[in-house]
Symmetry: C2
Subunit: 584 residues, 2 copies
């Protein structure tokens, strides 16, 4: 058997394994060493190939695809630093628990660590950030080696979407010549048959007596809270809302909890806590006895401070269905490793239905009151300002659209200004490591599956990942970018170093870039919005436009800060007043 046939059967076997494991999207970056895998992936009729030249962008693009589809996505690059460019997205995928299958081509063993061109040490390249690493054997002939390749692919997919979903890394040493045989069609058209493993990934569930114990606690406490951070499980919203109804507890819902929009009952959902949990008086009045918390760390800092302040006297149950330990402020009195949706249902069945609604009514009334203050305050703003931009956007986004939210200020503004609605808007973001890197690419990737998709992003984050726009151009992906341009790092104005020496040099970092040229570079449509009517109109237009649309909103860092501070002050005053009058 000749080499080309050996190479082809082995690499095709791996790809057949991927397809059997229901992986059907791959993002490829150009390279020579990866030739056999790239050509065979492109050849497989069930595999959709996206080309992405910048590997950093490619990996975030894959992350976006995987987040949107909730399925593992494959990545392929050549040997050398190409693979190192995946690292930021691999870390983000690891922390945000998104399945990625990273394939890297490598030089064969005899060219490792001897100064050969484009040869770096790729073994365990991503350290502890991948759930599984395999350095594959060199291509070999024979049924067993082909089954080995197929099984490795199935296992890679299984681990990536397993108990703790995340990235896996499979490294392929390959020798020249690298061109596979594409004729005859190199894949087995029939089902590969019963000899290959189908894998099923289980979920965590805790013993019934533990649930019963917690249910009893909940029945005995009138004042309870449910907190939902970042979580994206299809049936979770309904399950947690039902649980809240039974327990009579309000749900403090982070924007990425998927609880602020959708067709379920949102009566229990509290969405203004970030604004009203800033006054000590309010915090004292709203102190719970028990908390049940789901998902990744909520974005709200006032919420974290509130939880830290009261932790001495509260039972705090943290539920993590992936077996992690998400408790940065050591709040938990009980860490429950159970699938979140399953746990909600179990608890709801076991708990007694609360008779009094006065506790949850109190939260709802405070929340409504805060929302009404925010509403009036926002209506009074005429200058361009970031908070109001987000506020308006939340009213204008078309139903069924997706909002991808950048880190730093945008996610915080969405927390404050994007309230519950019936528009079934999916909110997405990169909240594993909260980086400002890779956001454009992730959003463009998500936009493949979600349409219309709007990305809300600050100028530094947009700049960081402008390369991500090329995928939109090359693959004709529709994406609408709302660019909040305050020419620098707006979040730093909120920190104590604001106004210190060298502030603009090391924190403000204005770039002075005119992003209209970026739009032109990538064949995008560009609008600079100078008043609020414009914004409304531009968003509506963008939703129906094809391709890349950039809507830039020029804002001012100092004014943004002043508006936020004034709003927080006003909400605190009004809520204090309201609670005092309520008590009389």
């Amino acid at each position: 058997m000749n080499w080309q046939k050996t190479l082809t059967e082995y690499a095709a076997g791996f790809i057949e394994g991927l397809v059997q494991a229901r992986v059907d999207e791959v993002v490829i970056s150009p390279g020579s060493r990866s030739t056999p895998l790239a050509m065979l992936l492109a050849e497989h009729q069930d595999m959709k190939v996206y080309m992405n030249i910048d590997e950093r962008s490619a990996a975030f693009f894959a992350l976006g695809l995987a987040k949107a589809s909730r399925r593992p996505v494959c990545l392929l690059c050549t040997s050398g630093t190409a693979a190192a460019n995946y690292f930021p997205a691999v870390i983000e995928a690891s922390l945000s628990r998104v399945p990625l299958i990273v394939l890297t081509a490598d030089r064969p063993h005899e060219l490792r660590d001897v100064g050969a061109p484009q040869a770096i040490d790729q073994l365990h390249l991503y350290g502890r950030y991948v759930r599984w690493f395999a350095d594959m054997a060199l291509p070999e002939t024979g049924e067993d080696m082909i089954k080995y390749a197929k099984t490795a692919a199935i296992r890679a997919a299984s681990v990536s979407r397993g108990l703790l979903p995340g990235p896996v890394h499979v490294n392929f040493p390959l020798r020249e010549p690298l061109v596979p045989l594409l004729e005859p069609y190199p894949f087995n058209e029939k089902n590969p048959g019963p000899t290959l493993p189908f894998s099923t990934e289980g979920h965590l569930q805790v013993p019934l007596e533990i649930c019963r114990e917690i249910a009893e606690k909940c029945s005995s406490y009138e004042k309870g809270l449910i907190i939902c951070g970042t979580i994206d499980q299809k049936k979770f919203p309904e399950a947690v809302v039902e649980l809240a109804k039974t327990l009579g507890y309000p749900i403090l819902a982070d924007p990425l909890s998927q609880l602020r929009s959708g067709s379920f009952d949102k009566k229990a959902v509290i969405d203004c806590y970030d604004t009203f949990l800033r006054s000590n008086f309010v915090k004292e009045r709203l102190k719970p006895d028990i908390i049940i918390q789901f998902g990744g760390q909520p974005v709200s800092k006032p919420l974290s401070l509130f939880l830290k302040t009261i932790r001495q006297s509260v039972e705090h149950i943290i539920v993590d269905g992936n077996g992690g330990w998400r408790d940065p402020y050591r709040l938990s009195t009980h860490m429950v490793h159970s699938n979140e949706t399953v746990f909600c249902r179990q608890l709801q069945e076991l708990a007694e239905k609360k008779q009094s609604q006065s506790w949850s009514d109190l939260w709802t009334r405070v929340n409504d009151q805060a929302k009404s203050v925010i509403h009036s305050f926002m209506e009074s703003i005429s200058d361009m300002e970031e908070g109001k931009a987000v506020y308006l956007m939340s009213h204008v986004l078309p139903p069924e659209s997706t909002l991808f939210i950048g880190n730093s200020m945008p996610i915080r503004d969405v927390d404050t200004f994007f309230h519950t609605n019936e528009n079934n808007i999916r909110l997405m973001g990169n909240r594993g490591a909260n980086g400002i890197d890779g956001v454009v690419s992730a959003a463009v990737g998500a936009a493949v599956h979600e349409r219309p998709l709007f990305l809300l992003i600050g100028d530094l984050s947009f700049f960081h990942d402008m390369n991500g726009l090329l995928a939109a151009k090359l693959h004709k992906i529709n994406i609408n970018i709302i660019l909040l341009n305050n020419d620098g790092g707006g979040i730093f104005s909120h920190l104590p170093q604001a106004g210190e020496k060298d502030f603009e040099l090391i924190f403000g970092t204005p770039t002075g870039l005119n992003y209209e040229y970026a739009a032109m570079l990538y064949n995008g449509q560009y609008t600079k919005v100078l008043d609020w009517e414009d914004l409304d109109l531009s968003i509506r237009e963008a939703a129906s436009n094809e391709g890349l649309n950039i809507i830039e909103i020029p804002t001012d860092r100092t004014r943004n800060l002043d508006v936020h501070r004034a709003l927080w002050e006003q909400v605190s005053q009004e809520i204090n007043k309201y609670l005092r009058s309520d008590e009389q």
Copy 2:
């Protein structure tokens, strides 16, 4: 003592250590957790701060600074994926042996691995790619802890420029509040005194009897070659040229050996071997008995094939002054771990001066002949083509300028078309891992110290690192970019997959970008060159222009390939003919 004072003294101590170790350049990316280090670095009067928003670009920029200055450069970023963006440049620095001191701010221990925002596992983040890693203690008060911080900085600098220069990583866990005290001036103005270690990094030297043995071998062989790959030691060119004179051996000089331009005697330097070592007849005639090789892997593939073919009957001495094992094709009969310049001088002193010059004359005549064929061939080309662009450039670049060379095709074309000259042009490139990533940033960094600097780069590599242009804009750095735009991956047309199915999708990868908009985005001057006179003029103009100049040369991938093949064919024919007539 209060916290702010503790934080300030500890962080300032580390920075004093850096300055004492003669580190005076730092590239900072914006962030919150890194606040104390960033503010104190900006405050130190002997530290030059460069701000660079995209950490991937920042790290390559630092690499360029360090390459140009031949001194360690510091990097600072905040916690999270920011640090992961350094990874490609850290690997490149590791393989190309360039000193970098990577400082990363981290969350304190109690916020690690518990789902805290922007907290990733930064311990040993760069795996085996750094020469030293230290996870610093949290800031503490007291003379001994300040000395600990100072010593860590001195050690970091020492290791980074030590026996095997490269990157080091120092991770700083930091607690809030993060703002240091800038008044009074936080640094000790006087010399820190004799209690701090000054470090001296030694070099490798082999016993005299080993040198004598090699000298005797060289005296006994008339037919010897010296091969110089990538090497950048100030006194190496003169030392190796003197050695060559004594031994009567020609020097095959890679473009990055720094032997093609400079004020030393270039009589022994062979610069057309990549073109004439393609014919079996020529290779047979020019077969040596002994080879002494210095530096990183030469770019020429024909040279590698030549060396592989003859390895059974040649003594091959590889000299690696950093104690590495640079021998991908298992050629060495002797691996010598000695500083290259020292070894050249020792060997020259011990070796007998050769009487006959006929062997080196043969090489010189073949080289001259090949050069004359290349010359005529180039003169005959009228269409825009990449080889000719490089050829012309080598004649037009002003004396004392620096040429930074992109990977993939540009470095290969420079190998073929950039011949010896008296213009003292410094040639630079990223030949550790040969990536197309980070090239713009590295060149912009190098341009801080080298002026005028020209970057020769292909369009994919330019696209990959366009963000690197922001540093040129913000720091008013002069850089001239010659952009060879063949709209895609030109090198793949040289590989066997050219013309295979899906070639354009996965290898050709045309982007269709109009880079004039990139120039506009970064306030650059842009010229598209459409004929050869234009190119000449544009290069001369750019050299005296301030700021960013982009000179785009549109070329065609297929035509480039045809020209290269025709040239190689013609040189082989002519040299074969020449050698045959020589023998008669």
